[in-house]
Assembly symmetry: C2
Homo-oligomer: 467 residues x 2
């Protein structure tokens, strides 16, 4: 019994049986209790330690289940051969070694990619997360449908119908971990070597994904209505990638007439498709929302992509595709092999978030928050109107400022940085031949700045840009 | 005041301010409270409802923040114009409409893809999940590093070093939502048109992913040591996809000599790489574990893939790549554009799971559970030894049974199904020219069956297969 002089701490957070488990395990690992050594019976050890027999039973069972002890009927518990058992030492690293991920940051950051995380509905998320994990549903940890949970797809279909006039059955929806992944999946469905029309500037990651998978990108010029369909007709493109609700980064909203021309292009050729990226359609501050292109599509040529990254939080990796019915068999053959990329727990949380009205409330709240920042920024930017024009306003969470006094974006970015303000040049979104060409335009994203910060940032921009 | 005859339920789970919020919101939406209508002051409504003024304040603030009410200083609260506000009606679908996902199921399922979910450490998962969400860390919902959280990558590197002798810095690790996604990512990094050597039979999804992205697959014959390197040398393949720890589905463990030959092949040509898929290396029941190929690789030619889907739960969509250092710049240029596919919450949960010793305990427990089922199944299968041979045992969670009495796999599968037992034919994993060819081998996966179920299932197989 001298082997097991365990000092138990009854005040510890750790249950007594765990303390016994850990002690015996460490004795086995250190060799103090060697292979084949017989342990005291649970009755004896319980008496000796002045604990209930159940406590010792629990500890022994744990050790048996993990392969440290063997229970031999009528003879007792014996130490096992440790060969093949896992034992990991955790080495806590020196914190200083951890690389600093955040690059040098300006005090006021107008970069267009953030969202306002102060408004993230953390409590609702925690509540739903707890509820889902309480369900004790074993299915939760089995591999789910590659398309995503049926309940979530139903909920997304309903939301899209009401908010965006998108026509979709749950069967047409594919849930995936972010837009970039869904674009990869689409490429995988279509196969390499597609000819894809894009605007310039555009969402650069989409361009890179297409190119990396050996597709050819045809750049089609934009006018004030968006991608020029007359020029699109002259290319050999079979797929057109557009953002009709709020073109990134230009901020154009494609008018109905151009949308119809685009749909006519798609339906007039075999195998033509439009990829409609509706990434930030949720926020619109003036006039009625324009329904998604997909809702007007009678020929089944629009592939719709939406995301919760922009409306909820970037770290919530849930986006969705709506495939036209004609592509469902292609998905079955070539897309379904990719297992779902979103955990079932997260899928159920977000389904609850939509179904229980949290998403509606969150969107309305964010729309009010962003509109107020949008209006304030527009007002403040009047200080620059003698040499700047504003565009891309009234929707999304960024707008553009174009210098008409000859200042280049590079100068504007550098001057702003000296005052501690980060603005992004438009040119980083140019693709094709235009890539790297200088511009006179900067983007101002206002999602992550409070109203006070917007005022102070514009004050600094005045110092930076007004001679 | 007659407008607001709210009947509050003090016993409800719903807080009083939420009840007031919902009542007023529905009055606004129904038009009972029209645009520009002035609401009673918070003081008056509080008196009328016999609640504290704070309660009414909270309700009004909520309505203001979501755009239903406007607060006009010194004048009070007024109903807003509802244009642009989101309001979703949730239609609960008739449950019967929901498609049944599960196909007709046999009572006893030997399919090789499951894991034992009764042993899933649900309580530890819940505890860690709660802890992570309690952190109140805003960063949790910002977009994270495309490679994955640094802490998780450090933890995985430590685990791989100790369990698999893999040499990896956190900088070499990329976390992604499943092996299929990581293979897509690799394809995207290499670009289309690669020539990839594979065995047949093999992990069919990998074959499909490669082919769908316009790579050419060269099938290289196996012998009793695995992929024949002499035949590999004769192909123009630049990349070889192998599973040295436990070839799927054959169950071969590649001996050290063949591993060395494979490494020699890789290092003897410019730009040659080996993809080592170590999908179920965690479970091995006899002899010492063989370290991963990656650990022997001095030339930096092995791309290692591992997953928590097999060791923990399939619905936990977390896998990881270890890239050789020479490929890090390729990842930076072509891979990093794909945003992380795993939520930061899940990444922190699993990092805690590894760091706090839960994973070690879980692996030891599962190894004991699976070994016991493995030993029992081997014992039970002796009944067939006059006309069957067993292979692929001693590792993983499935083994193979080959009929030497002329019975085809199709016959075996059908006869078993008639007795309510599901077994999988080997032929579904054949690729290339061999695809669709008949075999005499079936797979028996034992991860999801209890010991009692294994005994009963084998009893039924005897009825099915012994004339």
């Amino acid at each position: 019994m001298n082997d097991l002089t365990i000092s138990l701490d009854v005040k510890s957070q750790e249950p007594l049986y765990e303390q016994i488990y850990h002690y015996i395990k460490s004795e086995i690992l250190s060799g103090e209790l060697p292979f084949k050594k017989r342990l005291p019976s649970t009755r004896k050890l319980a008496e000796y330690l002045q604990v209930s027999r159940t406590t010792v039973d629990l500890a022994y069972e744990q050790l048996v289940s993990e392969g440290y002890l063997e229970a031999v009927p009528y003879r007792g518990y014996f130490v096992c051969d440790l060969e093949g058992l896992y034992h990991f030492e955790t080495k806590r690293p020196v914190q200083a070694l951890r690389p600093v991920q955040e690059s040098v940051c300006c005090t006021y950051d107008f970069s267009p990619s953030g969202v306002d995380l102060d408004s993230f509905p953390g409590n609702a998320w925690k509540k739903l997360s707890k509820e889902v994990l309480q369900e004790e549903d074993r299915k939760l940890f089995q591999l789910g449908d590659p398309q995503g949970e049926y309940e979530l797809r139903r909920t997304i279909a309903e939301y899209l119908h009401q908010a965006r006039a998108v026509e979709a059955e749950p069967e047409q929806i594919i849930v995936g971990a972010g837009n970039d992944f869904l674009l990869l999946l689409l490429c995988s469905m279509f196969g390499a070597g597609q000819k894809i029309a894009m605007e310039s500037p555009t969402y650069k990651k989409a361009y890179d994904v297409f190119r990396n998978l050996s597709n050819e990108v045809r750049i089609v010029e934009m006018d004030e209505s968006g991608m020029r369909v007359d020029l699109l007709e002259q290319t050999d493109a079979q797929i057109a990638y557009v953002m009709p609700s709020h073109q990134f980064p230009i901020g154009l909203v494609m008018p109905l007439k151009r949308r119809m021309q685009l749909l006519a292009w798609a339906s007039s050729g075999e195998g033509r498709y439009i990829i409609e990226d509706d990434y930030d359609s949720e926020f619109r501050y003036k006039g009625k929302p324009i329904p998604a292109l997909q809702g007007f599509d009678r020929a089944g040529r629009v592939i719709y992509i939406g995301t919760f990254s922009k409306s909820l939080a970037p770290a919530i990796r849930i986006s969705y595709l709506v495939l036209p019915k004609a592509l469902l068999s292609v998905y079955q053959q070539r897309g379904r092999i990719i297992s779902s990329t979103v955990s079932r727990v997260d899928q159920r949380i977000i389904a609850g978030f939509l179904d229980q009205g949290y998403f509606e409330r969150h969107l309305n709240k964010m729309r009010a928050v962003y509109r107020s920042r949008h209006d304030l920024l527009l007002e403040e930017l009047k200080a620059f109107r003698s040499f700047c024009s504003v565009s891309g306003e009234h929707a999304g969470v960024h707008l553009l400022l174009t210098f008409q006094n000859g200042m280049t974006e590079q100068e504007a970015v550098e001057l702003a940085a000296r005052e501690g303000v980060r603005v992004c040049g438009l040119s980083r979104y140019f693709v094709g031949e235009a890539a790297g060409q200088p511009s006179h335009t900067v983007l101002l994203g206002y999602a992550t700045l409070s109203e006070e910060e917007i005022c102070e940032a514009v004050r600094r921009l005045k110092r930076a840009w007004i001679p």
